[in-house]
Amino acid sequence: MTEEQMLAGSVKNNPAAQEELYNRFSPRMLGVCYRFAKNREDAEDMLQEGFIKIFTQLHQYRNEGALEGWIRRIIVHTCINILKKNKKFADSVNIIYAKSIHIREEMIPSIMQAKQVVECIRLLPVGYRTVLNLYAIEGFSHKEIGQLLDIEESTSRSQYTRAKAMLEEILVKKKIIQKPRKVSYGDAASSR
């Protein structure tokens, strides 16, 4: 089934085409959800809600840009919307100084590099993690992040700086990277 056929069938609510689209994109999208979510179960909930939105809004897709990018954007927005329903998330994303976390070896499953990095990202406090995911991986600007999370743009910058420093420290401790530049939580600044 070509992408055009798959798209046309999905718009017409054809189950086979919808399943094809789902099978094609769901593994990568679940990886995206997993970076935002607390656990795998929550990530699957996000994925499910995201794909329902995708199928119901697919007729709005105009073939402008890659389909995966369009799907990814919806998934990310869905993740953020689900996170925002939790009051703790709103508090966390506004707190600039997160509590220090004690990293133990067994906290990070050593399966493989990509998995290791993702698990390290998931060790970050939820506020840091979300901003870092949106900025560094999903390519949102701080202004967009501010609008998306209902926070100030400057808060997003601060969050990202600290998230980045904290992640570097984690990656070093896990020996995934070698000694990065010594960064204290207060003096790093984002350039974007």
């Binding site: 189950p15 593994p27 399966i111 493989m112 990095v117 990065p180």
Partner: protein
């Protein structure tokens, strides 16, 4: 080697690293999406639910179950002097008096049946036959000893002062007055038994996080790549490059991950507990249960009526309640079995008249030993002929169940599911109050000893379950339960099957 992280490098590193990260969702995610996109027609079930709720509300509103007349309130022992001169002599007794006597009448064991008849039942007699200063009691004796007359009535005349201290032991000078219906029951030494009650015998999901790493071909498990500082992989990362897997490796890993499920505690994920409560409306179906031959056709005819019992009895549904806890085990994606414990309070209302004085009446019972029916006298305070003092009699029981059954999922997404279920419920009747209708339908008799101790119920339900954000699952839906065996023992000439319709509300938690 020290690596300085410039912003762009770090972000690129993260982006490149996580780009290859994939996880394979469990199939239930797709099923949930599919069910959401292609919902089945659900209006029939909603219509049934709406109808049931409306019916329950209607009956509930009309059922002003405030008056609870209970035979236990029958008063027998203390005379009220102020009643002198009235046609009706009201007497007071310990609350248990009448019940106790009735119970004894029906629970007399064969061993004790040979003894002198000592089960007496007190009733105030016609005051017109009394001499001043005395109280006239009629003592009704029902004897199940085949060697003795079945029913006799004995009158005791006591001074009023003594009557106030009335106790059963004080009946000494008993003189037969009316040997009523002496020949109703055949006296057959071989066949007559005093068995009173026939009791039933106590009855993912595909989990795959793959992007690299090593697969152990023997165990099939993923093992980690130890990234020591001096390994090439680390060096590559340290220099901002990510070692990527070949397309062939990725495909192999993906296939492996797709077909190999992660080991988990299956028992934990499949087991859940449900606690629930069900307010309901209860009623009954009354059928004849007297295929036995009448001993004395003339007497039976004269006492019994040809009118159907359902027409002769005025009754109404009443509020019932049940609650319990159930363990549920998932057998498949759609089927699950369950077992638990449950308490149930059943009730329905019979409309009666409170009589001004205790009255003797007869109840048609089956003699299981001889295969004959017989009239057994009772004393009661409740009539069924209409009168000024209308009351409601609550026919209530307390029951304990062990519901055993299964649920089947008809449709649903991850959040909402629609189930149908059925249970069979071995039941123990712990107690209750039940009113038998007399053979002529003119009286009600309280005879708790006629309750069947072990019974069997069947339940049917349909419910919607909603998975709340906290992890709990809320279940709500209509339930119908039917009592398969009669409320009464086989001795009573009517069988009564209770049923109720309610709304079951429960919360399920996964272990």
């Amino acid at each position: 080697m020290e690596k300085n992280f410039y912003t762009d490098d770090f972000e690129q590193l993260l982006k490149d690293t996580t780009e290859d990260f994939r996880m394979y969702p469990s199939r239930k995610v797709w099923h949930s999406i599919y069910n959401d996109l292609h919902p089945a027609k659900k209006w029939p079930s909603f219509a049934v639910c709406l109808l049931l709720i409306t019916a329950i509300l209607y009956v509930g509103i009309n059922n002003n179950n405030t008056i609870n007349a209970d035979a236990d309130n029958l008063l027998l022992s203390t005379l009220s002097p102020s009643e002198k001169g009235k046609n009706a002599m009201k007497v007071k007794a310990p609350a248990f008096a009448l019940n106790q006597v009735s119970r004894e009448i029906f629970q007399q064991s064969p061993a004790s049946a040979g003894a002198k008849p000592d089960n007496t039942e007190l009733s105030a007699n016609d005051p017109g036959s009394m001499s001043p200063g005395t109280v006239n009691y009629t003592q009704s004796v029902v004897n199940f000893d085949p060697y003795l007359p079945v029913i006799t009535q004995k009158t005791v005349i006591l001074p009023r002062a003594e009557a106030r201290e009335l106790k059963s032991e004080t009946f000494i000078n008993i003189t037969p007055v009316v040997p009523s219906i002496p020949d109703i029951i055949p006296i057959d030494k071989k066949t007559v038994q005093t068995t009173m009650e026939e009791r039933l015998p106590a009855a993912d999901k595909t989990v795959a996080e793959t992007d690299g790493g090593a697969i152990n071909p023997e165990t099939g498990s993923l093992t980690s790549i130890k990234t020591a500082p001096n390994t090439p992989a680390v060096a590559a990362v340290g220099s901002g490059e990510i070692k990527k897997l070949s397309t062939e490796d990725k495909t192999w890993i993906e296939n492996f991950a797709f077909h190999n499920k992660r080991n988990g505690n299956k028992w934990k994920t499949k087991f859940s507990t449900l606690v629930y409560a069900t307010p309901s409306i209860g009623y009954r179906i009354l059928n004849k249960n007297n295929n036995f031959e009448p001993v004395n056709a003339l007497l039976i005819r004269s006492s019994a009526t040809s009118v159907d019992a359902d027409d002769a009895i005025s009754q109404q549904a009443a509020l019932n309640f049940e609650s319990g806890a159930t363990g549920i085990l998932d057998i498949s994606r759609r089927l699950r079995i369950k077992a638990g414990v449950q308490f149930n309070y059943t009730n329905y209302i019979s409309f009666a008249d409170r009589l001004s004085h205790p009255t003797q009446t007869n109840v048609l019972l089956n003699d299981l030993a001889t295969g004959h029916t017989m009239l057994v006298p009772f004393v009661t305070n409740y009539g069924n002929q209409g009168g000024d003092n209308r009351i409601r009699l609550n026919n209530k029981t307390a029951q304990f169940y062990i519901p055993l059954g299964a649920d089947y999922k008809l449709a649903g997404s991850d959040r909402f599911k629609w189930y149908i279920g059925a249970t069979i419920q071995p039941t123990y009747v712990a107690g209750g109050t039940t009113y038998l209708v007399s053979s002529d339908y003119k009286h009600y008799v309280n005879a708790p000893s006629m309750l069947r101790a072990w019974n069997l119920n069947a339940g049917f339900e349909s419910f919607i379950s909603y998975k709340a954000p906290g992890g709990s699952v809320i279940n709500i839906g209509p339930q119908f339960r039917y009592q398969l065996l009669s409320t009464y023992s086989n001795r009573y000439t009517y069988s009564e099957n209770l049923y109720n319709i309610g709304i079951k509300v429960g919360i399920t938690r996964k272990f």
